[in-house]
Amino acid sequence: MKYVGEYREASVVKVLGETIRKEATGEYSFMEVCGGHTSAIHRFGIPSLLPENVRLLSGPGCPVCVTSISYIDRLVGLSSEQDVIIACFGDLIRVPGSSSSLEKEKTRGADIRIVFSALDAVEIARNNKSKKIIFPGIGFETTAPGTAAAIISAYNSGIDNFFVLSAHKIMPPAIDSLIVNGTAVNGFICPGHVATITGADSFSFISDKYKLGCVISGFEPADIMLSVLMLVRQINSGRFRTEIQYSRAVTPQGNLKAKAILEEVFSLSDTEWRGLGLIKSSGLKIREKYASFDADSVFNSAPEITEVRENALCLCGEVLRGNKIPPDCRLFAKSCTPENPVGACMVSAEGACNAFFRYRRNG
């Protein structure tokens, strides 16, 4: 596969592995923040190529995993309202809320459809005038511009039955919060796709303010291995800076057009991250101009949410902060499996527990 195969070449990956082994003389813990990285790392068997003193920990970058239980409960509630169609990304339907999930509601008759983009949901709205289509806005700077574009498209074409329940989040404040609250990592493998939108500069606080390693990485095995090597070198030299490994996609400033669309539709708000708690100015709220598309305010008569319940033994929060690895959890691979996920990290293919379960089992 051209433009991809080159970055998977076993001979290149092998040389990088050998170089890391040679240069990594201390102890290193790096956090891959993005769920896409978590998934790629395990899918390509990267841990088996690294020496034991170089550890990779998963961070809070799986959109489904950090979505709060109360948000899922809210969606479950909305799905049973009359004439409502929930049009959502596939990962979301299996995420367990306090007592149900969208998948369970679907088997009970709720109209829940899987879409591949927010614009597909607008299309459903256009073709089902008598229904109310709710699109759950999940994800970071990578998916949020798509939601914003869908809202603008609906606004411009006068569609009045399309709504977004936004749980969109932005990444830098979450990393900041992790560092401030104490996480034992020497460096971050930063999300290449998020940085494609936001620009590498939005992550420079990691190296400049906190003196930690920071490399914006691509998603293929050679990308990740090279990023690890770059981090090892930053740690060894004590010269911390924000380096772009993924230079074929990422610039210091990012995608200005996407940033403008985000700015047009969303403003920053404090928001709840599952496992991490409330993080200041880390959520994207729909601006007043587009309030008629904001499911949060339009559907204010949603049924009362009963008590939010999280399994007390679930270590998702600790896993998302990089303090524990999935096999540390007593539920992992026992009562919590991809078929019967207890915590959100087991649901999504990008979740650390799911990736561990599918590709490594006990480490």
Binding site: R8, S48, T107, P338, E339, F357, R358
Partner: protein, 343 residues
């Protein structure tokens, strides 16, 4: 939680229960096999004894959406699928029955097209369709056309255990007759909801002649299974489960067409978990592996055959994949829903 401690399922059936993955396995074990008093291993065909003769007996339902796709249609699938289930059990397929469930309003012209391709495939596979049934349901009560086929065949001499995994030994080689993933991608492309156009054609084909040739030249075939729903990943894990032996496969040797690999990359699918309708996994003693490979490659449906791995000495139920990039990882069964109604 779908299964309680007693292994009973509660709540509702989800689409994941029909995906061929773990949930399907649990459904079969916990709901059906227990009550029907069926014994492990649960193979693709049952081998029943009848006055000294050993007969393979199998059945399968087809609900593919859409019923017409590049490389075939629901009728061709219904014949090939059942023929293959018999052939991989070491049988020479002989007779099929066919049942149609038709939705009110289904065009007769399309029905004829389906039936004609069934007749043609049956002729090619040298099986006879000898009995059948038809039901018509009100509009909206099924999706156009559903087909169930059952089949019987005569077990070849010495082949009765070939579907059970009992003959598999450490060191045995794993062979596949060609590229994986094409059927799922072809069906998905034929659906209007995903807007991509590809040249991928379903691999749907009856494999009984190919399998027959292999069994003619080798006595060292220890296991066979057609690689359908759940893909290669599901079959390998099932085999490891059945035998209690570890399996090692090298991704570099698993044939995947370039266009399938590209689409999988875009859509987030793993070609090793996608369904096929013309692929067979053969496990054979190392002494015959080369000969079997040559035999497969001499025939159209086996021309891209490849040795993909081996049964290891490791007595742990685990499938290890060496990835294209050289790292090792577990190859697990995809759980839940990857693609509904691909067969």
């Amino acid at each position: 939680m779908l299964f309680s401690d007693t292994g009973e399922m509660d709540e509702f059936i989800t689409l994941g229960h029909g995906s061929g993955g773990k949930l399907t396995g649990e459904l079969i074990r916990n709901i059906f096999a227990r009550r029907f008093d069926m014994n492990e291993p649960l193979t693709d065909s049952a081998v029943v004894e009848n006055e000294g003769d050993e007969t393979a007996f199998t059945t399968d339902s087809y609900v593919v959406d859409p019923p017409f796709f590049p490389g075939g249609n629901i009728g061709k699938l219904a014949v090939c699928g059942t023929v293959n289930d018999l052939a991989v059990s070491g049988a020479i397929p002989r007779y099929l029955s066919v049942s149609f469930i038709l939705e009110e309003g289904f065009p007769v012209k399309k029905l004829i097209e389906v039936v004609e391709s069934m007749a043609m495939e049956a002729k090619k596979a040298k099986v006879k369709i000898v009995t059948g049934d038809t039901k018509v349901v009100e509009k909206g009560k099924c999706d156009g056309i559903f087909i169930t086929t059952s089949g019987t065949g005569v077990i070849r001499k010495g082949c009765k255990d070939i579907g059970t995994g009992r003959l598999v030994r450490p060191g045995d080689k794993l062979i596949i007759n060609g590229a994986v993933g094409n059927h799922s991608i072809a069906v998905m492309g034929a659906r209007k909801q995903l807007s991509f156009v590809s040249d991928v054609v379903s691999d749907c084909a009856a494999l009984n002649h190919l399998i027959g040739k292999v069994l003619d030249i080798s006595n060292a075939v220890h296991f066979m299974r057609d690689v359908t729903r759940g893909g290669l990943a599901a079959i390998l894990n099932e085999l490891s489960d059945m035998t209690g032996l570890g399996i090692f496969v090298d991704e570099e040797n698993i044939p995947v067409d370039e266009s399938v690999r590209g689409l999988c990359e875009m859509l987030g699918f793993d070609p090793l978990s996608l369904a096929n309708e013309g692929k067979v996994l053969i496990v054979a003693g190392v002494e015959d592996a080369g000969q079997i490979l040559d035999c497969l490659r001499a025939d159209e449906p086996g021309k891209n055959a490849s040795v993909i791995g081996e049964i290891t000495e490791n007595r742990v139920k685990e499938v290890i994949l060496k990835t294209l990039s050289g790292g090792n990882r577990i190859l697990d069964v995809f759980s839940g829903l990857q693609l509904p109604r691909i067969c």
